[in-house]
Symmetry: C2
Subunit: 346 residues, 2 copies
C-alpha cells in the first residue's frame, strides 16, 4: 500500500520566507530528499512572484554583476497584443517564453521525515546567466561519499541541467551545465554501472516523438555521452504527453527501481514504477501498468497548477520508503510505502 501522510502537505508556501522583500512565495514543491546525519533534508523548489499590479503582467528574473544576483522585472502591459498568457506558469512576449515565477532551492529539515522546519535563507540561489529565470527541481545523489546535486537551470537559452557537489549541505561547489538545453529530469545513479557513472535524463524531442527517458554514461560526472533512448511513453491516456525520470534510481535485488512521472491527457501528472536491469540499465525488466499515485487529494487537484503529483526525492528509512512529491506545483507532500510494495506494482 502506498499511503499519503495524513499531515500532507508537509510544507506549504506559507511556511517559506520570501528571498526578497515584496516577493510572494507561490510554491514550495518538487523536493529532492536525502538522509544526512539524523536529519531528513528536503530541497524545495521555492517559486516566487513579484507583487501584482492591475493591468500589468510582471515577470521576475535576475541580473548578474560580479557573481551577485539582483532582482529585476519584465513589466508588460496586459493589453499589449504581443503578450500571450500561457497558463499560471508563464507568458509569451514577442514570441519568447517567460516564467511567471522565479525559483531557488531552499532546505527543509525533519527528524521523522514528516514534520519539517524550513530554513530562513536560500540554499542554492541563481548566480549566472544560465540561471537568470531560476533554478528548479533538485535531485541529490549520494555517490562515493559525496552528495551530487543536479537541478534545472532556466534562462533565455531555455532549460538545461546543472551539477553541484557538497559534503555538508552548507557550501556547494558548482560544476556547470552537464546536459545542454533542452534537458531536465536528470537522475544520477548512486554508484557506477559497468565502470561508468550513469544517469537518466529527459531531452526534448518536440514534434518527432513524445519526450522520453534516456540513459547516458560519464567518466567523471561532468561530461556525458553514449546517449540512448530507453523508455518511451506508451499509448495510454496517462502517458499521452510525455514521461520523465524522478529521484535517483534505487538499487533492489530485482533491479534499479525508478519512480517516474507521466504527463497525460488534460496535463495530468501521475507517478509510475519502472525496473531496469542492474548491470545494463538500458534494459527494461518490468514497467508498472497502472500509476502508483494520481492526483486525488484536494492539495493535488487544486493549486498553482492543478492535477500534478511529481516526485524527485525518495528516501529509505527503517524499512520504509518515503516518496516525497510536489502537489499541484504548490506544496510538498509525502507518501509512505516499502520496497516490496513498489516491486509488486511492476
Amino acid at each position: 500500500m502506498i499511503a499519503r501522510h495524513p499531515g500532507n502537505p508537509v510544507v506549504r508556501p506559507e511556511q517559506v520566507t520570501p528571498s526578497i522583500a515584496g516577493y510572494r512565495v507561490m510554491g514550495a514543491f518538487n523536493p529532492g530528499a536525502i538522509q544526512f546525519g539524523d536529519e531528513i533534508l528536503l530541497f524545495l523548489r521555492v517559486a516566487e512572484r513579484v507583487e501584482p499590479r492591475v493591468g500589468r503582467v510582471r515577470m521576475p528574473f535576475y541580473r548578474f554583476e560580479g557573481g551577485r544576483a539582483s532582482a529585476d522585472i519584465l513589466d508588460l502591459d496586459a493589453a499589449d497584443p504581443d503578450v500571450l498568457l500561457r497558463d499560471t506558469r508563464g507568458v509569451a512576449y514577442c514570441g519568447r517564453e517567460y516564467l511567471s515565477t522565479v525559483s531557488h532551492i531552499r532546505i527543509a529539515r525533519s527528524r521523522d521525515g514528516l514534520r519539517f522546519t524550513v530554513d530562513p535563507d536560500p540554499f542554492i540561489y541563481p548566480v549566472n546567466e544560465s540561471e537568470a529565470y531560476g533554478i528548479e527541481d533538485l535531485r541529490v545523489t549520494h555517490l562515493e561519499g559525496r552528495f551530487y546535486l543536479n537541478y534545472t537551470a532556466v534562462s533565455r537559452d531555455s532549460w538545461a541541467t546543472a551539477l553541484a557537489v557538497t559534503d555538508n549541505f552548507r557550501t556547494i561547489e558548482r560544476k556547470g551545465l552537464i546536459f545542454h538545453p533542452e534537458n531536465k529530469d536528470v537522475a544520477i545513479f548512486p554508484e557506477k554501472v559497468g565502470g561508468m557513472y550513469a544517469a537518466l535524463h529527459r531531452p526534448n524531442n518536440s514534434g518527432f516523438g513524445r519526450a522520453s527517458i534516456w540513459y547516458s554514461r560519464s567518466p567523471d560526472l561532468l561530461h556525458w555521452g553514449e546517449h540512448e533512448c530507453i523508455v518511451r511513453p506508451r499509448d495510454i491516456p496517462w502517458e499521452a504527453s510525455k514521461i520523465g525520470g524522478g529521484a535517483p534510481p534505487i538499487k533492489t535485488k530485482e533491479g534499479w527501481l525508478v519512480i517516474y512521472h507521466a504527463k497525460g491527457d488534460h496535463s495530468l501528472y501521475s507517478l509510475f514504477t519502472l525496473l531496469l536491469d542492474l548491470e545494463d540499465p538500458r534494459r527494461v525488466i518490468r514497467r508498472g501498468r497502472e500509476p502508483i499515485l494520481i492526483p486525488e487529494a484536494p492539495y493535488e487537484t487544486q493549486g498553482f497548477f492543478p492535477n500534478v503529483v511529481f516526485s524527485n526525492g525518495v528516501i529509505q528509512k527503517d524499512g520504509r520508503v518515503f516518496i516525497y512529491y510536489g502537489a499541484a506545483d504548490e506544496s510538498a507532500c509525502v507518501a509512505l510505502t516499502d520496497i516490496d510494495t513498489l516491486l509488486a506494482t511492476l
Copy 2:
C-alpha cells in the same frame, strides 16, 4: 573576394545513383569536405524520396533487423485531415513529424576540388533506430592523425549528433550519440584547446530564445560537458530565426575562424564569419556585420527548399580556401577565397 565557382553546382542530384531501386535522389547537398591524399573528398547528404502516387503522401524510413536497414514507407491518404503538409521537407501526421526524404552520406571525389565524381555506393548508411529517418550534414575533423565524422541522426526520437571515426574513408567505427536531441550543427575543433577536446554545437531552445551556438568540452570526444552558450542571433533580419556552426573551426594567427549559417526572415539562409579566441574560444573576438554569402545564384534561390546557402565543409589548398556549401537543399557548390579575405570580413 569570395567567388562562386562558375561550374557550380559541382554536384547535382542527377549525378547520384539512388541507394534503392525506385527511390529518387532529390538532393546531394550540405557536403562535409576534407583533403585526403591527393583527393578532395566531399561527404554529400543524399536525400531520397519514394515514388510518388496520386492522392498519397509517402514518407520513407528504415526498419532494422540484425543491424541491416530495410526500406519502409509511411503511406498516407493525402485527404486525411490528420495529415498536415509542412513544406517540401516534411509532414506532420497525428501530431508527429516525418521527413519527406531519407538521407545517407555519399562520397564525391576530385583532384582539383572543382570537378567531382560521385561514388556509386553509400559511404555511411543508417544502421539503427536512432537513424531510422536518415543521417544528414556530416562534418569531418582531422584530429591527432585520425578523421572524426559527426553527423545528424534523425529518428522518432528527433535529431541528435552521432560520431564515427575512420583512418581510410572506407570503413568506419561508430561511436554512438555524442549530443542528445535536439542538437545539430556540431563542429569539432581540429586540436585540443586548453587540454580538452572542444566543439561548437547548436541545441534547440524553442520558445525561450533563438537557437544559438554553444561551446562544450570533452576528455575523450565521446562524453561532452561544460556547456556554454557563446554566440546568440543578433536582432538583424539575417539572424531573425537562428544561427548554427558550420565546418570545423580554422586556426588562424588571429583566432579560430568560423563560417556559420544564419536563418533569417522568410527562412533565408546566409553565411557569416566569426572569430573566436585561440586559447578560450568562448570569447568572441570579432563577428562579421554582413553575410559573406547570400542566396543569389539561380541554383541557390530555386530548388528543393529555396534560398538556402549552408556550409559544413571548408578546406585550405595552395593558399586558397574552398568553401563547400549546399544550395537550396538540393545541390553542392563551392566558393573560392583565402584566409586574409575572410579575416577582412570581420
